[in-house]
């Protein structure tokens, strides 16, 4: 096997590698209910529980709440996506 691939590069091997690579980055978390949470991914665990910082809650695309830190229980998570936009650019 070749040397360790750079974290976050297109050649990461497994979903778990992707999740490790996005720690500390701005992400969008979509819940089963359709609600979006945008913020900095602090960490996650094997249940896909998520801890986020600077979290913003969007319902139907509208900003509804802000949380300094937020814990999201993993069973609610539909997907986690890295966000190309910086938080300063808003929704």
């Amino acid at each position: 096997m070749s040397g360790t691939e750079k974290a976050g590069s297109g050649t990461t091997k497994t979903p778990a590698d992707f999740l490790k690579s996005i720690r500390g980055r701005p992400v969008v978390v979509k819940l089963n209910s359709g609600v979006d949470y945008r913020g900095i991914l602090a960490c996650l665990d094997g249940y896909m529980n998520i801890a986020m910082e600077q979290t913003e809650e969007y319902v139907n695309g509208q900003l509804k709440n802000k949380y300094g830190d937020a814990f999201i229980r993993g069973n609610n998570v539909l997907y986690i996506s890295t966000s190309k936009r910086t938080l300063a650019e808003g929704a």
Partner: protein, 97 residues
């Protein structure tokens, strides 16, 4: 978060542990929200909360105008066991303004 707190949050449940004995906000299924003091929790997010305010949001449709009416109902509960599988989100108090 401060550097110290950042190093303390190695996994998501650390965020809950750091909230023990603090008032937290909990978002539940069925459009319920709780604010209360976190006394205890486990890995399922079962929680024991004290001095709890519960807010229930309902949407009714006006018979005549077909307008949506958003209504909130509040009640207070001195001591509450919350079953973890209904928990969506937990937010500790803001540590910085």
């Amino acid at each position: 978060m401060s550097t110290e707190e950042e190093s303390a949050v190695k996994e998501p449940l650390d965020l809950i542990r750091l909230s023990l004995d603090e008032r937290i906000y909990v978002k539940l299924r069925s459009d319920r929200e709780l604010r209360g003091k976190l006394h205890a929790y486990d890995q399922h997010l079962n929680m024991i909360l004290g001095d709890v305010e519960e807010i229930i949001t309902t949407v009714e449709i006006d018979d005549e105008t077909y307008e949506e009416i958003v209504r909130t109902t509040k009640r207070t509960v001195p001591f509450l066991f919350v079953r973890g599988d209904g928990v969506i989100l937990v937010s500790p108090p803001l540590r910085t303004a």
